[in-house]
Amino acid sequence: MTGSGVDMSDPDVVVVGAGGDAPALAWRLGQQGIDVLLLEAGPFHGNEQFPNPHSERGNAASASTEDLSGGLLDQQFTAREGDMGSPVDGKLRWGPADAERAPWARTVPQTGVISQVAGVGGTTLHYYGNHPRAFVPSVDQQPHWPIDYADLVPYYQHLEAVHPVKPAPTTPKAELFFEGARRSGYDLTTGLNVEDEGYRPFPNAIHQPDESLRRDGDYDGDFRDVSGDTLACHEHQGGPHPRGADFEDRAKRGSLTSLVPKALATGHVEIRPNAFATDILTRAGPGPLEACGVAYRDTWTGRTRRVFADCVVLAAGCIETPRLWLNSGLPDDGWVGKGLTTHHFDFVSGTFDSDTLEELIGQRKVEPHQGQAAGSRLDVPGKGGIAVNTFAPGITASVMFSESVDGFAFENDTTGEPWDTQGRVTGTKLKEEMSDYRRMLTLICHTDDRPRQDNGVTLDSNTEDEHGPVARLDWSPHPEDDERRDDLARRASKLLDEAGANHIHRAAAAPIFLHLQSSMALGKVLDSGGEALSVDRLFVADHSALANGVGGANPTHTGQALALRTAEHLADRYFDGVADPIPANPTPASADD
């Protein structure tokens, strides 16, 4: 703590991270007149204070919606796969804003791929806008949550109104999926609160497309004359569409374009990008330890500064939040960093012949690159979910055919299995698969994997960067998680078969660290209001606070809902409370429960 300057700003609350969830918390606190400073390790895209975020530092911070620029977003978000999404040198990567530098280190001593993004908006910069609620039984019947599903509902409703979250439109690839689901015997789900199996359009935080973009219509414009989604399928590349629109009117409602403007508009929120937190500052309180500030390092200048506040909120994600906690020497009763869930992904693809497609969807190709990247899904509470997940060719090739825990397809016997090939595909076979890209439908399986104390984040004391010892990640599935994943892969395969696929491939994917949850869980490390059990005035408001993997539903909606709820508890406990509570009568939570 010596030798670093004291930050001149004087926030009430300092938040580590401005990713998917923190802007929800900041917005809610800002609405109560509480001054919030967010420290974000990565860049701030589409902001006049940082016009060239990957080549120069720009100014220190942004605190006004006046700084937000749709023009800059169009310039920076090119929608090219490698330029945006290369995990090594892409604009959306886990690394410093400075493109000349390498990504930040993690130690992963196992087969796996990490897919996180540093920057304002965090991993919602490349998410698909998917906002299903948690499966009801994953909250009310699994033993992990100290609160009820009903406690989350008002916050879900709030977010569904403000993003907004709406049914995704049917597109040809979605119709192909729906038909496979119907023929497999599933019913259509129309309710938001999911307890039973069924298929449905994804509840997505993507503005619905303009009605002029009907397939059977005669639209021939340049997609700058419409509002809402243009169905360009560039969610993974940042999704800047429609081009030319105002910053806040971009169709995909990632935190950067949806929640950050709302937070800044309160006049009480400041975001400082390029600021990597390295230490949580504490002081002895009347009872337990009390958090009182954060030390952070400017990723361009290397200068370390301290900022003091009445409360500290950690929202650096499931890997960095526990790393920062452990590097700060805070107490650990055995669950800090542990209980990590990942949705134990798998991928299953089907390739169709043109006559089948013509008959089913009225066109001779699937066209995976058209329409929302993930617009249709099948829920299987207790097991997880299956969703259409489509990508441009680079990600298609890498997730479908390059990553697996089951070796190489040319060695694997699939006799008796519902898929034709399994494992990595290389050589001529890979080229053949990719030649069929436009007739291929790719599905993702999100497994309801359960929290286990062996899985999670520790410090790698042998590897230190400028922010201290780096995080080490260990995660392996329990046999029951493998069983659930197998069940989902079989359902996905059957669905594709029923839709008429003539070739089915299962990746048997290696762990992909993308959907991360529950490494600083409510009920384990945190009380039911999101405050640390062992450190007062220290809260966690990212997906690490989730008590489990929410059943395999995409986690963003629940992460943001919980962040809103945690903001209200923070305001209740340490400030003047909430003037306009969501819900009207918040469930009381104490630091002890």
């Binding site: 490698g82 530098r101 001593p109 009907r214 059977d216 690159h369 060719p393 890498s398 080229k431 290696a510």
Partner: protein, 220 residues
């Protein structure tokens, strides 16, 4: 011209570094040139877009060198490309010694290095990777010394395949207006939009009742 360090000279007289030449054998096995396949499969392969260079650069820029001995040797980033090459040769050697090779050794392509990995047939190169990440001596050490992060070898192997494949099929490996991999997939590149809206399967989701049926438990 020992293969473990430095360079050797190809038949065309071009210097090929050990790391680059070994990685060339990797990318060639993942996306080979396939002249004469016809049927809409592109003939060009990874080496036609110098993917060996892309993957070598990516590995050498994978992460910054930590404070300590590596940095004091003058490296700003971890020299993972030569490490990858060395590991591939270790895997190849194990495959050869265990007699698990399924095709004869071959003279390395002129863009390859001279080590054992570069002399394996394409599928045998993948079998060598399999030994490194799952079935061979290195993963066996990982089982025995659980706390030492030997499993990083498996992570690097997965990374090598992921990076090779993603780069081969995107602008990462070919920054031209129309990358080779997009061409092969018949992907038109980024678009401003598509008029493919077909209406709604559900017009509005409803706030339905819940909690009537209930059983699940699976406590851990």
């Amino acid at each position: 011209m020992g293969y473990a360090t430095g360079t050797h000279t190809s038949r065309e007289g071009v210097a090929v570094s050990y790391a680059r030449g070994t990685i060339a054998a990797l990318v060639d096995a993942v996306v080979p040139a396939t002249p004469g396949t016809g049927d809409g499969v592109q003939a060009a392969g990874a080496l036609d877009i110098d993917l060996d260079e892309t993957v070598e650069t990516a590995f050498n820029e994978l992460q910054e060198a930590p404070e300590g001995p590596i940095r004091s040797l003058g490296y700003e980033t971890m020299p993972f490309a030569p490490l990858l090459a060395l590991l591939l040769d270790v895997g190849a050697l194990e495959l050869i010694l265990k007699r698990e090779r399924e095709a004869p050794l071959q003279a390395p392509d002129e863009r390859f290095a001279g080590g054992p990995f570069s002399r394996l047939a394409r599928e045998d190169r993948m079998r060598a990777i399999r030994l490194l990440e799952a079935d061979g001596v290195v993963p066996a050490l990982d089982e025995r010394f659980g706390d030492a992060p030997i499993g990083i070898v498996a992570y690097l192997m997965q990374g090598a395949l992921f990076i090779t494949t993603m780069a081969a099929y995107s602008d990462w490996g070919d920054d031209s207006e129309r990358p080779q991999g997009w061409e092969q997939a018949d992907y038109p590149g980024p678009a401003d939009g598509y008029a493919v809206h077909m209406g709604y399967e559900v017009d509005e989701f409803e706030e339905n009742d819940y909690g009537a049926d209930a059983e699940e438990g699976d406590a851990e």
